[in-house]
């Protein structure tokens, strides 16, 4: 007999019944206190310029307006930067650095009144030249928002010079809007003294607490931040909620009334950061077998107007520019470029996808150059014995890449299907097919080592019910469910006894963002640590009463046994309470063994790696560029899964989100520096009719984490996002068929139908222009 809801079981999301009945409470659903006011923002309308005058009289006079707040009205600092670099003003005061930068806030009786009033500001600017993209920023002298990183091992120049083959190339990699379905919002409720309580849709309550405290000029102890759940986060609520929480809090304290700020979707998309777009320039040297000898790469990122998280994001791009491949001699350099755009930020994978995709493109280039199946080239370059050192000098000790790929090759019937695709294309029709198998190796841990800590608070009440709180936030990923499973397993009680409550800074302090896929690894361990403390007290007490050693106390499915006497859990706890045993404990965890020296570019930044692979097959209409994904097979490693149902959902969702990044999601700024794809009408995330027609997703059930993580599981949030690279390279192959695979089409991303069509046209027209005429006739 086992308990209901222990670890390694399929278990539904703890809020599922509420989700389907509309009863799950998101921040905007919290009953507003009487007297709640609504704030909104006035935004800049130039990409770069000096403010010459700002007239807010019409805003103040608008119906329903209670207050207008500018930088002068802030009690503390006009800064919401997440990293202490003080380079991100809440309100632009003199110089505007992107279109959509907040200038002031207006507070009114209704949200509608506040929005209408905000539009009445009269602002004049002296416009200055702007650089909104990577090319323009480089042309303007390539200013950086944060110090760059170089990763280096061996001597790349001589190794490159000695290589039998060399290819130079470049790849443009597009950004991505998070498109969390629930937009940014905060509700601030003033309290006595300097206190303020904030309900905020955030992945990082502790950071909101600190930034609000700075803006109010009060100690952190006066600010409490709470989030029960988010309607999606994906990294977009790791720092980007700061400004909105600050405005709500400042207004609430100033007016002594509750204030809510909820952004409209268009303003949310224009004024919050996104995934960084990159330009990679690479050179690879390799031998006749396709084995990589040397890689030299530059990674230019559009970071936006300030640093935000661009330092660690561009670092992580370099950390993943090897993906699963050994580079004997290597040098990789990041260029975190300042641009006159919103400051780009965390997004699932955190730069990793932009690095990894370049490794995959390098492999594809080699394969086309040598006329081989790219899978052979991939296998020839996997890390292995004696070839296991990364460009950051961490040894890869838990490598299961080859096992994962071998199994997927077999279960997806890759070889026969690839032959069928080649045969199909050989017929020379309009519809061309492509198939690609791409691997993923992803490093787990925050590269800022100090973030790898977590706290938890576990209460056992005298009726035997258990309340758990931890520093992680729930954004749909099932973190609370997994942590509750860990607690149920620890006490050997059914999960129905365990309730996880809203994440809040007054229960567990000094938390890290729920990010870097680390939520379960860190918070699960912290919760377990608290459970073990309570169990130790209970065991000592029960053993002492029975005159037995503590080992005689066993927490079992039937109850707690002391020697041969078994007592029902609730009765046991009731007795412990009556005998004055402390039934509450805090827990703590810090990831062991990791270290990283950014100055030398050496260390062990990652505790372990997660692995996965996918095969995608696509059909492309070469006359229109339209395509569809016919089938995708995935095998992904989550170690010993805590909850396979939840993990499968993460893998599927991450793949489709990654597919959107690489295919349909195009961010487009006009020549004035204004984002024109600021709503779902023009910015296209995948819909139900876009996903693979056949979608076979499996977890590598045989895998166990070699490190002692929580129940030997592995993190799952980010790694599967990059499985979508197989779609891009399958599209690449379908296009390449037009000239007999003689050239790698080098599709940039997103590979929109427009881009695919242009790639088709380039291949059709370049080698034999006469053929274009034939088609024209």
């Amino acid at each position: 007999m086992s308990i209901k809801g222990g670890v390694h079981q399929d278990l539904i999301h703890d809020s599922a019944a509420k989700h389907v009945s509309g009863r799950a409470e998101y921040t905007d659903d919290i009953l507003e206190p009487v007297g709640t006011l609504h704030a909104y923002l006035g935004f800049s309308t130039v990409a770069h310029g000096r403010i010459t005058s700002i007239d807010l009289s019409a805003v103040r006079a608008a119906p329903g307006v209670v207050e207008v707040i500018t930088a002068d009205d802030l009690p503390g600092e006009n800064d919401v930067s997440a990293n202490g670099m003080h380079d991100e003003p809440l309100f632009a005061t003199d110089e505007v650095l992107f279109w959509g930068q907040p200038l002031f806030a207006v507070v009114a009786e209704t949200r509608d009144a506040a929005r209408r009033a905000a539009a009445l500001a009269e602002v004049s600017y002296d416009t200055l030249p702007h650089a909104t993209d990577i090319a323009a920023s480089r042309a303007a002298g390539a200013p950086l928002v944060t110090p760059p990183l170089t990763l280096k091992r061996g001597a790349v120049k001589p190794a490159m010079a000695a290589a039998p083959h060399r290819i130079k190339g470049q790849m443009e990699i597009g950004g991505q809007d998070h498109f969390y379905l629930e937009g940014q919002l905060s509700l601030a409720i003033p309290g006595e003294d300097e206190d303020v309580r904030i309900f905020c849709s955030t992945q990082h309550p502790t950071e909101v607490q600190h930034v609000v405290a700075h803006a109010l000029g009060v100690p952190a102890h006066s600010v409490t931040v709470t989030v029960r759940r988010m309607g999606g986060g994906f990294g977009g609520k790791e720092t980007q909620m700061n400004a909105f929480a600050v405005i709500a809090a400042v207004a609430a304290k100033r007016l002594n009334r509750p204030v809510k700020l909820r952004l409209d979707r268009d303003d949310d998309m224009s004024s919050t950061g996104k995934r960084h777009d990159f330009l990679a320039e690479y050179e690879v040297g390799f031998d006749d077998e396709g084995r990589i000898l040397a890689v030299d790469g530059d990674f230019f990122a559009r970071c936006g107007f300030c640093s935000d998280l661009s330092g660690p994001v561009t670092d992580r791009a370099l950390f993943h520019a090897d993906n699963a491949y050994f580079y004997p001699d290597v040098e990789l350099r990041s260029h975190p470029l300042m641009t006159h755009t919103v400051s780009n930020t965390a997004f699932r994978g955190f730069g990793g996808p932009q690095g990894l995709i370049v490794a995959e493109r390098i492999v594809e280039e080699i394969a086309y150059h040598l006329g081989r199946d790219a899978l052979e080239v991939r296998r020839a370059n996997f890390y292995g014995p004696g070839r296991d050192l990364t460009p950051y000098h961490q040894q890869v000790t838990d490598n299961i890449m080859a096992e994962v790929v071998d199994e997927l090759v077999a279960t997806s019937n890759y070889a026969a299907r690839r032959q069928a695709v080649l045969d199909w294309n050989a017929k020379g029709g309009i519809i061309r097919k492509g198939i690609a198998l791409t691997p993923v190796k992803f490093g787990i841990s925050f590269t800022a080592t100090w973030f790898n800590q977590a706290g938890a608070l576990v209460h056992v009440y005298s009726d035997g019910s258990i309340q758990v709180n931890h520093g992680g936030t729930e954004m749909g990923q099932g973190l609370h469910t997994k942590v509750a499973q860990v607690v149920a397993e620890a006490f050997q009680v059914d999960i129905d006894r365990v309730k996880i409550t809203a994440t809040t800074t007054d229960k567990v302090p000094n938390t890290s963002a729920t990010a870097a896929s680390s939520g379960t690894d860190l918070n699960g361990m912290a919760a377990l640590n608290a459970c073990e403390a309570i169990k130790a007290r209970l065991a000592a007490w029960a053993a002492d009463k029975a005159g037995l050693p503590a080992e005689a106390v066993v927490f079992g499915t039937e109850g707690v046994s002391v020697g041969d006497k078994v007592t029902d859990w609730a009765k046991f706890i009731g007795a412990a309470y009556m005998d004055r045993v402390q039934l509450s404990a805090t827990g703590f965890y810090k990831t062991p063994e990791i270290h990283w020296n950014r100055d030398t570019g050496q260390g062990r930044p990652f505790y372990y790696f997660a692995y996965g692979a996918s095969v995608s097959e696509v059909s492309v209409d070469t006359l229109t560029g339209e395509y569809r994904v016919e089938r995708t097979d995935i095998l992904h490693d989550v170690g010993k899964s805590l909850n396979p149902a939840i993990d499968l959902g993460q893998v599927e969702g991450a793949f489709v989100q990654g597919m959107g990044w690489l295919t349909t999601e195009e961010l487009w700024w006009d020549d004035k520096g204004r984002l024109r794809t600021h709503a779902p009408s023009t910015y296209k995330i995948p819909v139900a009719s876009d996903i693979p027609r056949e979608f076979n997703v499996k977890l590598a059930s045989w895998s166990e984490n070699r490190e002692p993580t929580i129940k030997r599981s592995k993190a799952v949030g980010e790694p599967p996002f990059m499985l979508a690279v197989s779609v891009l390279e399958a599209l690449n192959m379908a296009v390449a068929s037009l000239d007999g695979y003689a050239n790698c089409p080098k599709l940039d991303t997103p590979a929109t139908p427009e881009r695919v069509l242009m790639a088709c046209e380039a291949l059709r027209s370049a080698p034999a222009p006469a053929k274009v005429l034939e088609i024209g006739e």
Binding site: A16, S21, G649, F655
Partner: protein, 160 residues
Amino acid sequence: MSKIHVTTTINGDAVEFLADPRETLLDCLRDHVGLTGTKEGCGTGDCGACSVELDGTLVCSCLVLGVEASGKSVQTIEGMATDSELHPLQRKFVEHAALQCGFCTPGILVAAKSLLDRNTSPTEEEVRYWLAGNLCRCTGYDKIIRAVMDAAAELRGEAA
């Protein structure tokens, strides 16, 4: 602007509220009637999170004025389950783990029910295209499609 007295039926109950004539049905449901299961994702009719039925027609409630509900019947997510039992679609979404953050879930369920009310045995392709107006950023849709197909089978009386 002076408010208008709206008399309507929501989930079978007679409901009255006062609405600014510019207010959307979505805002009226959430702010005046206290039915917060219907969500705003985009406010421009492109994401489907605010889906409700108005006299049996599937609409984005952000594109309908509250006053337009006058004399009509509105069906929201809150009316899908009975007091004691989830609708088969809701139950199948739970069983198939066809949700993550849950924010799009009410709109998708309302849209899916609207499909099954019209077509008791949709093909997988029909389900995909019917739901193409409902954005989900978490799940990748596959489990949603499975859940709808499974619920349709159960509603037809077929064994799952």
